[in-house]
Symmetry: C4
Subunit: 203 residues, 4 copies
């Protein structure tokens, strides 16, 4: 059972790791963890995610409503909660902005296909590098409720839902059973996307 | 009200952050903060901005003249003061040199247009990613007074003035209400410019 | 004679160095050292190699079988042991995943040829930059025993065997007499491969 | 007057800085300082320059001969001493290997021309960005005495000698009046060479 103190520490450390990797520029990105009581600990709106303090993390219900009046959670709280509602096994969600995600999502529509990479083994159900994963790419939208509808519509269409998706010109969402797994999956996807970007440059 | 000690600490920390990000190579770059008494704390001429000490930060008036005789402020003090005179809300100014800024400014004349990026929300008055920002690009000039005239002429022409501009083959100026906002805006712009540079390489 | 405690410390430090260099993303990579008693200390399966603790390193025999029942060594233990069996002088083996290795191995079949680099002097028997080294590239394979067979077949064919090879879309194996030499050789190869990748992009 | 202890500390710190910047991979690179007594403190042969200890720095005469019998100075000591003999004002010499230096030197013969960069002001005698600097590129050579002859021949031909040169496929030499100036000049040149490399990739 994850308590608030433990979740805060995990979120603060994750923010430092993501900043070290260059994936939370400016005040971009957001990070959350599902608590044992079913609520969600999530980064507050604004603020640099590489330099979080305890009060930079607040609690919301599965509906996204802050448990303490006056708290302003991340603008994209609805996307985090949508993941926790749909996937009972999801325990942590990471949202970052990297250059490969931003550049590739602006060029590709519908999905980004990754195949032939050893690191695909980071995805559930894929024990070899010979499978392929198609990460959905959604149009960016400031109306988060509408964006979450689009995400859920796509999820309903897919037989297998990979634990991540991209928002065009914006960033990537990745989740896992806990923070270490979410971080591991994000690192794996970001690595493969950097390879994709590099490969598209070669003469 | 920002006092000198607080401003020095903020400038030293900002220099370390900019060096960590690779944006103050050699002795390039300069950093300033507006103090409560209306004077400006600014980095001294020369010296590596990633390794500032207290005596690496001096005070000048809004006219750029050092308040202590013999102090040599940054060569580009006139550009900082020009920003503080024109924008009453400006509390901190950052000047850095990055590879994307240098390479893109050498290829593009007049301005660099950024659109479709979520991080455009870092700019005042833009609540969505669907707007565009055109950052002015000025020809470099060792005559700082003449360069500031060119900057003010452009500002007089624009209905909306973005909180930043580029100097060809030189670097970028970004400002904000305080140091955290200035750093946040610089990180956002640098991120988008890296994306622009990467996108221009793809086959 | 290398004891277990010394080997663990070397492996943990190497993992931190490789993570600093970005070569062990997610849970990728593995690291081993030959002990004085002939057994092999190797990273446990799973786990991020940049954040190893003492219990992240276990012992196996030269046949790859864990010396303590229940321990799960790295999935690729067979490749490490194959190197130690073939090369009596090998004292440390490093396996990492870098973007240049991944991208270049996906484009080139058979081998990657490096010549004209001063850093080729890192390879045994090459005292000048005027020689060339051809690093084998093998098809990736989840059947490690079969993959090791392919590696040994190639070794049997070559007059000179360079102390490394690539796995397509996967990563690189490099070895040396001890951890410092293995790290030095890996840094040298990764540097040259980055140069190769950059050179292939130029117009 | 620089003493040995001070020189060692400067060299160790410079090595850490160069490693942080990725410019001393494997055991590449070497660093030296001219001491008050006219001798030269220089890094020992072999060893990673990012992790120097006091005994990694030894003393040689201006002729390159170790002052303590048995010491093995850097293989390229002759190039350092050639700089100190030719330029009485040279107090520190840095030699590093970066990807831009290696890739560009393999493509360009004779010299690399840098112009229009603000950072050209790091070079002596250039107070504006409107000048140009041509950094010589020499063919690599394991015979250091012969290589130094080629360097001195070129120096004799030039009216103005920039404080640096490149060795094809190998690395760069930069010097200054002291370690801070040498580091500043190296950072400036490496920045401009990265810009050159990036510019050559754009469509």
């Amino acid at each position: 059972m994850t308590g608030l103190a433990e979740a805060r520490a995990a979120i603060i450390a994750a923010g430092q790791r993501l900043d070290h990797l260059g994936w939370v520029p400016a005040t971009a990105g957001n990070i959350s963890v599902r608590l044992g009581d079913g609520s969600i600990a999530i980064t507050r709106s604004g603020g640099h995610k590489g330099f979080l303090s305890d009060d930079g993390v607040i609690r919301v219900g599965l509906d996204g409503v802050p448990l303490r009046e006056g708290d302003r959670p991340s603008a994209e709280t609805g996307l985090h909660c949508g993941i926790y509602r749909r996937f009972a096994a999801a325990g942590a969600v990471l949202h970052g902005h990297s250059v490969p995600v931003t550049v590739l999502s602006r060029r590709l529509a519908g999905s980004i296909r990754l195949e032939g990479y050893e690191l695909l083994k980071a995805f559930p159900g894929l024990a070899t590098h010979q499978a392929a994963v198609a990460l959905p790419v959604f149009e960016n939208d400031q109306d988060i409720a509408r964006l979450q509808d689009a995400v859920e519509t796509r999820w309903a269409e897919e037989a297998t839902i990979p634990p991540g998706y991209l928002l065009r010109g914006h960033g990537i969402y990745v989740w896992g059973a806990d923070m270490p797994q979410a971080l591991m999956r994000l690192e794996a996807v970001e690595f493969m996307l950097r390879c994709e970007l590099e490969a598209r440059r070669l003469s």
